[in-house]
Structures are given as C-alpha cells and as structure tokens.
C-alpha cells in the first residue's frame, strides 16, 4: 500500500487550448488533508479533475498509488432515492451488491442524513444534498478522495454545521484527502497542508506556515494581507487588518481614505504619511471620519524581501 496514493509531477493543466498552470508538484499522503485555495479561474477545479483522471494532463504526469474518487462541485444526484444514489456510486466503484446497503447507510449515518435514506434526491435541500454528496464519496473508501468545494452555495449556519462535521470525517489514517475550498477559514478548520494555485503556479506548505507567512507578495495579497508598509531597503511588510492596531502613541500615522461598515465595527483604509503605503484596520463603531488622522502601531505581518513577487 503506497503511502502516497496520488502525486502530480511536473504537471501542466489546461482547459481547451489555455494552459492554466504548469510545473505543478503535489503529493497527497495517507492520513492528511490538503486544502487547495486559489482565486476564481485559477484552475483549481481543472487541477482536481486532472488529478482525478477526468482530464488529460497538458504535460507531466499524475501518479496513482491507489484508487482515486472525486466528488465534483455540483452534487448531481440522480432522480432516485438518497440510498439508491449512494448504492449506485458503490456499484460503479465495484463494491459487491450484498455490501452496498450497509456501506451506504453507514456513510449516511456518519453525515447525519440517515433519516433521508428513502427520500427522493430531488426533494433535498441544498445542505442535505451536499451531505449526501459527501457521503457518496466517503462510502467508496478510496485511497485518495478529492472534493471540489464541498461547502459551496450553503448559507452560513448550514456551512458551519457541515464544516464542523467534516473536520472529523475527512480525517482517516488510510486516506489522503484534497479539497478545493473557497476561503481560508475552511482551510484553517480542515487542512494539515494548504496548496495555493495562483498565477499558474502551485505553492504548498503546512497550513499555519503558509497562511501566516506567505513567501511572496502576490500570495500574501491573495491570502488577505491587504495592507502594505514599504520599507527603506525596498522590502515591504504585508499586513492583515488584525496586524494593525490603533494607538495614539503609535509610530505611524495615516489618513482615513475609505470606511467600510461591518457587522462588528468599521474597516478603515489608511493612507500612510510619506507615501509609506496603505493599511487596513478594524475599529469599533462609529470610528474616525474620512480624512481624519489615525495613529497606529504594527503587531505582526510578514516581511517580503525586495524582488520577491
């Protein structure tokens, strides 16, 4: 049993004639969960489909050390009962007939939708369909499970519930799991490692390391480091709003250029004096007026050396 059921080597992916990424190196190891992040159109779903064998690589290769199943973005359930949908997937997977029912019900129970087993799939809500879709993937017990945005299109409470359940269910010592996610919170909640597909390149690393210390300015920008403090040597410090603290005795001062009201306060954009950069910070309501001078100090952030993109 290979410890790496799925790996990409020098992989290039394409949609039609358009190459979306190249030189992709990725190993999925048993027992780990990897989150794949990237902006819209970066090629996340294409990479997943290529890894799953649904698309041919434009270059390079995909190495499979086990069986790979992919749950694509749309649940795409057939017009039959929930249980029949899971059993159909098990039949395609080659599971003997006498084991299908029990495996289907076990997977539905794990996702807390066993009571929907005999209900027509067409009658499910969006959240229920997502759970059944995930149950189908888990029921197969593949060596590598690829999930394309398993929380897409759900309202906040439903998403939070599913995220909570998935954080336990996706972790299995015998399985490698790759999931395409839409935001960093999902990656934080679920993944041991994060891979970011940006500008045609894949960068991966341990979740906390990559999300807190992105190596390039472009990656930092994508990962929410929206503020920039330019330094004299050409380097810059990239900052999230949480890294900037209002402090009347702070060493930096900037004028408020934008005010964006939020649920818990105000997101303010500051243009620093001496053209040292733009920062964002959160302040309690009602906050400063536009044009007002605010003093701040820096508490965190990531330093990007000069020349690092």
């Amino acid at each position: 049993m290979s410890a790496v059921p799925l790996a990409a080597r020098e992989l290039a992916i394409a949609r039609g004639s358009r190459t979306l990424a190249q030189g992709v190196e990725l190993e999925l190891r048993r027992g780990e969960v990897v989150a794949l992040l990237g902006p819209n159109g970066a090629g996340k779903s294409t990479l997943l489909a290529t890894l799953a064998g649904l698309l041919e690589p434009a270059a390079g290769r995909v190495e499979r050390g086990g069986r790979v199943a992919a749950a694509l973005q749309a649940p795409a359930l057939a017009r039959r009962s929930v249980r029949a949908n899971v059993e159909a997937a098990l039949a395609w997977w080659g599971v003997p007939r006498d084991q299908r029912r029990e495996r289907a019900l076990t997977a539905l129970r794990a996702l807390r939708v066993e009571q929907l087993a005999e209900r027509p799939a067409a009658a499910l809500s969006g959240g229920e369909a997502r759970r059944v879709h995930l149950a189908r993937g888990l029921a197969l017990q593949p060596d590598a499970l690829l999930l394309d945005e398993p929380f897409a299109g759900l309202d906040a409470p439903t998403r939070a519930e599913l995220l909570h359940d998935a954080s336990t269910l996706l972790r299995a010592p015998e399985r490698a799991t790759l999931l395409v996610v839409h935001d960093r919170a999902e990656a934080w909640a679920l993944a041991d490692r994060v891979a970011v597909l940006l500008d045609g390149e894949l960068v991966s690393g341990p979740t906390a390391e990559l999300l807190e210390q992105p190596p390039t300015a472009a990656l930092a920008g994508f990962l929410g480091f929206s503020g920039e403090l330019r330094e004299a040597d050409g380097a810059s410090v990239r900052l999230r709003p949480g890294h900037v603290v209002a402090d009347p005795a702070g060493p930096l001062a900037g004028r408020v250029t934008h005010r964006i009201p939020e649920e818990d306060g105000l997101l303010c954009e500051l243009e620093l004096e001496d053209e040292r950069g733009l920062l964002q910070l959160r302040l309690p309501h009602p906050g400063p007026a536009a044009g007002e001078l605010v003093r701040v100090r820096i508490d965190g952030g990531v330093r990007i050396a000069a020349g690092a993109r």
């Binding site: 489909a49 395609w92 009658a123």
Partner: protein, 239 residues
C-alpha cells in the same frame, strides 16, 4: 349521408368480425413498425448519447443533421432507397427490393432521425455534471450510458412512441420500396391505397380506423407515462 353511414357500418362490421386480411395486415404493420423502431433505437441511442454532449463542432453538426432529418419527405427517401436496392445497385446483392426487409429498412431510416433528435433532446435535460460525476466515482462508459438512459427515460419514452407512431403511419417510402404487395409488404396505411384503387371503400375505412386506434393507443401510453412521471415529481415536491 345514409351512404356514408352505410360505409362506416360495413367497415365496423369487418373490424368486429375479425376480417382475416385486416387482422393479418394490422399484425404485419405492427411487426414492421416494431422492428424498425428496435433497429432505429439500437443505432440511434448510442448516436444520441454522443450527440447530447454537444460541445464539439462535429456533435453540433450531427445534431443539426438529425433535426433536419425530421423533415425528410418519405417519398424522397423511398426513391433513393429503391434505386439503391435495384439488382445492379450497391445494395442489389441483398435482393430486398419489393420484399419485407426493404420496408423495414425504409421505416428504420425514417425513424432514425426521430430517435436521434428526440433522444438527444431528452438527454440534454439531464442535470449538469451527472455523468461526469458518475465517471469520477468509477462508472464505466456502459454504466454512464445506462445512467443517462434511465434518467432521461420519460423523454426517451416519448421518442420511442413518436418513432413507433411514425413507422405505423408511413406510406410513401413503404409503397415505393415494398411495392405495396397485398399479403407481403402492405401495411394498414398503404392498404388504404390498395382498397381505394379496388373501390373497396369500407375496407379502406376499416384499415384507417384500425390505424387510428393503434395511434390513439400509443398516445394513451405516452400520456400515462408522462402522468406517472408528474405524480413522481409531485411526490418529490417538485410541482
């Protein structure tokens, strides 16, 4: 009016009396139409499955041709097929001219665009990603084809019934390639011509009545299938 009623009365009497030639013609018509529908389905469904995924130019062209084929005049097909079946022609070696296989072949060729166009239209209504997802869960090509056919079964039933109805009612090509030979290649629709030519108006009316009854039966089956689907959808909370 009395004359018309008399003709109708005689036609009904022949039907009620189980006129041997009428029954034989009705059974032959059903046999030809069923075979043609079967062959058209065997050839047309795989083509429809391929065309339904109309993302390439070749598939779009194929779908356009199938749609255009819906309007193909049967006599045009009949003329060209009859030419192909002449002894000196490419299909002459089959010796099918003026024989039942020629009738079935003509009906099959006329039914093919109906099967392909209507089935492809039914298959294009499948939920997006259904077949791709099945593939991602390990479904083989035949398993995906079965899934598609099962999911589109109501639309496919309509295609089958339309095909069968078309084959039952077809006249032009049948007469040209089969010769409309009584007891061999005639069908209910083509026998109307024979009876009228022989001044047997009650016979023509009886043939027509039986044909209409068969077509109404098909319409009834289709309606029941569609209503059954609607009931399913209602139970699923869709309507």
């Amino acid at each position: 009016m009395a004359f018309v009623l008399h003709l109708l009365d005689e036609a009904f009497a022949r039907i009620a009396g189980g006129d041997g030639a009428l029954v034989e013609t009705a059974l032959r018509t059903l046999w030809f139409a069923s075979l043609a529908t079967l062959f058209a389905l065997l050839a047309g469904l795989p083509l429809a499955l391929w065309l339904a995924d109309g993302r390439t130019r070749a598939r779009r062209i194929g779908l356009t041709l199938a749609n255009a084929g819906l309007g193909l005049p049967p006599v045009v097909l009949g003329v060209y097929l009859a030419l192909l079946l002449l002894p000196a022609s490419p299909l002459g070696g089959l010796s099918w001219d003026y024989r039942p296989p020629a009738v079935v072949l003509a009906q099959t060729l006329l039914a093919l665009p109906i099967v392909v166009a209507l089935s492809a239209a039914a298959l294009r209504t499948l939920p997006p990603g259904l077949l791709e997802q099945a593939r991602a869960f390990g479904a083989s090509r035949p398993q995906r084809a079965l899934l598609a056919l099962r999911e589109a079964r109501v639309g496919l039933a309509a295609a089958v019934i339309a095909t069968l109805g078309s084959a039952l009612a077809e006249v032009g090509a049948v007469v040209i390639v089969g010769g409309n030979i009584r007891g061999s290649t005639n069908t209910l629709a083509s026998t109307v011509l024979l009876d009228l030519a022989a001044s047997d108006t009650p016979g023509a009316i009886a043939d027509a009545l039986v044909l209409v009854a068969l077509l109404l039966l098909l319409a009834l089956v289709l309606t029941l299938v569609q209503q059954g689907r609607t009931r399913d959808a209602t139970a699923e909370g869709l309507v």
